[in-house]
Symmetry: C2
Subunit: 379 residues, 2 copies
Amino acid sequence: MSLKEYTAEQFKKFGPAELDIHQDVAQLTADLLDIYSVSGEEKRLADAVENALTNLENLEITRDGDSIIARTDFGKDKRVVLAGHLDTVPLPAVEGSEGTVPSVWKEEAGERVLFGRGATDMKGGVAVQLALAAHLTDSAYDITYVFYDHEEVSSELSGLGRLMRNHAEKLTDADFAVLLEPTDGTIEGGCNGTMRFWIHTQGLRAHSGRAWKGKNAIHQLADILTRLSNYEPQTYDVEGLAFREGLSAVEISGGVAGNVIPDEASVHINYRFAPNKTLDEAIAHVEEVFAGYELDFVDQSSAARPGLDAPMSRSLIESVGQEPKPKYGWTDVARFSEIGISAVNFGPGDALLAHSDNEHVKASDIQRTYEQLKNWLTA
Amino acid sequence: MSLKEYTAEQFKKFGPAELDIHQDVAQLTADLLDIYSVSGEEKRLADAVENALTNLENLEITRDGDSIIARTDFGKDKRVVLAGHLDTVPLPAVEGSEGTVPSVWKEEAGERVLFGRGATDMKGGVAVQLALAAHLTDSAYDITYVFYDHEEVSSELSGLGRLMRNHAEKLTDADFAVLLEPTDGTIEGGCNGTMRFWIHTQGLRAHSGRAWKGKNAIHQLADILTRLSNYEPQTYDVEGLAFREGLSAVEISGGVAGNVIPDEASVHINYRFAPNKTLDEAIAHVEEVFAGYELDFVDQSSAARPGLDAPMSRSLIESVGQEPKPKYGWTDVARFSEIGISAVNFGPGDALLAHSDNEHVKASDIQRTYEQLKNWLTA
């Protein structure tokens, strides 16, 4: 098929205004790719999703900004959340044109492969949610479908966070959540937490020709960098999954001029911590590692336990039939974990392709994920 | 006296076009301050100096750009250079106006004090040179007066360096040089050398959520900063003067983004070394301190030995009657030292005030320096 090229402005008006959510789930994914939904501009896609869900029977729909909650009322004892975000990162540049590529099907090694922004992260997952909503008229569990905006940007803008603040009662009654972020065919449990902080050193400015009159703030970083360099990140087993930690300087700065002893220097440190720790425990740990220094925190996000011990989790793992893995990157399973709902990541596509200009997903991966979730839900 | 305020443009045309170099040397300094001569714009002052010297008898004058060499021909065995730069750093900002202050006399503790850009660095010294040229019709030594441009800027622009390249024969026949940079009443011998270099570390970029896939270039700075932090700068006795060294980080940088293991980091280091070392020996020393790293040199300037052992130096010290001191900052005595001429710093004003918005010099300091040099030269 030929490459379709559009300017971003054309693309914003391109694609189906109405979604056929009963069609093949892979083709549904392509239709979702054809609706522009970079963070902050999810409205057209949210409208299409809301319309499609409203046309179904028996779903109670709540719209909040460009986020949607759609709840079944099958009268079951247990309830599961199926969640995914509608937004994507900005479009990849297309070489030799100012255009963008909504969706392109290619044939690779006998497989149909869908290329385009959102193919991996995570319109395949959203298509699976919509197809399940379309086809499941009954299920072993009641289902709360959640579609949300602003996942790919600053945490405080998160549509899921907003839903949890504004409509907690429609979310907290769930027993389990599946976040359809790409996990390449298996279940990825929990996620590492992450925090960032600065350590600043203070010195005394002086001319470098009379260095003894000053106190060098950069030299004082030696101790901090030595602690970092000597630190041995641990790997923790949590519910059978190995979560590997990391403690890394991500930025360093200091200096006034080539002939001045600097009076200020700073190092910015990122701690990725396993879900065997609460946020407070993780803070206590870095405060111990850097005892004697003040930590100036920039952000702090909890880890999420894998949730693999939960009975619904065990049945999902069995249904998928693959060894679960840990999720290293932070995902919204941590938000579900924070409100007391066990959650796992399970969705089509390879997370390592997310945000790349080469984002793609196999049709068969989307279809298989759909089948696996459908089998599990109707078992 | 009232504060005179001018815009820089007015100031550039202000002040005497002709210098009276026979008047009181302190008032001559004020007249020099009233002629704008920020580096690169020394022409008006150089013209005035050249005219004043041309009106004297028995001086052989060479003009090169805005630098001037004026040589006596007293027929003496020995020859001394008296050298000073004509340029100043940019003007201080005057609060509440866009004006500048050419020269202002104030009364402080019964002393007449001259304020203004160049008061310390170094129009008092230039005034002393001019007054000596005006008044000395004979001397114990022949004298080579040197006035030069572009001292306050990048080393390769130096007017003195240019004179040494273009008119070496008019300089190298001297036995001794006095650089009239401010030394606050005593002789400052030699100067420390200075060099600057970068050390870069290389790592491997990775997502900080998978830190073990990368190699952190900032963590690799730990060893370099530890060497710096543990380094104990030495003080060396050279010809009876104590030269204190310094090895200082002056800048540090590294980092890509808050979630990326950085693959590059750098630290910029300044070594101030005593004149017991040649430039090559100083380079060998830092290469030993940072063995295993490549040093990326930005600049390298030799130290200058104090030159206090030279007979003319000894007689000058005796005449001044103050204990000589080492000069920590780099000055053009190093250029004289490089062409084989012993040189010392001796001029009116406190070097610590140089370049400050509060630059000033006492009339009596300028007058005393003039008398001391005159007595020495005519002894």
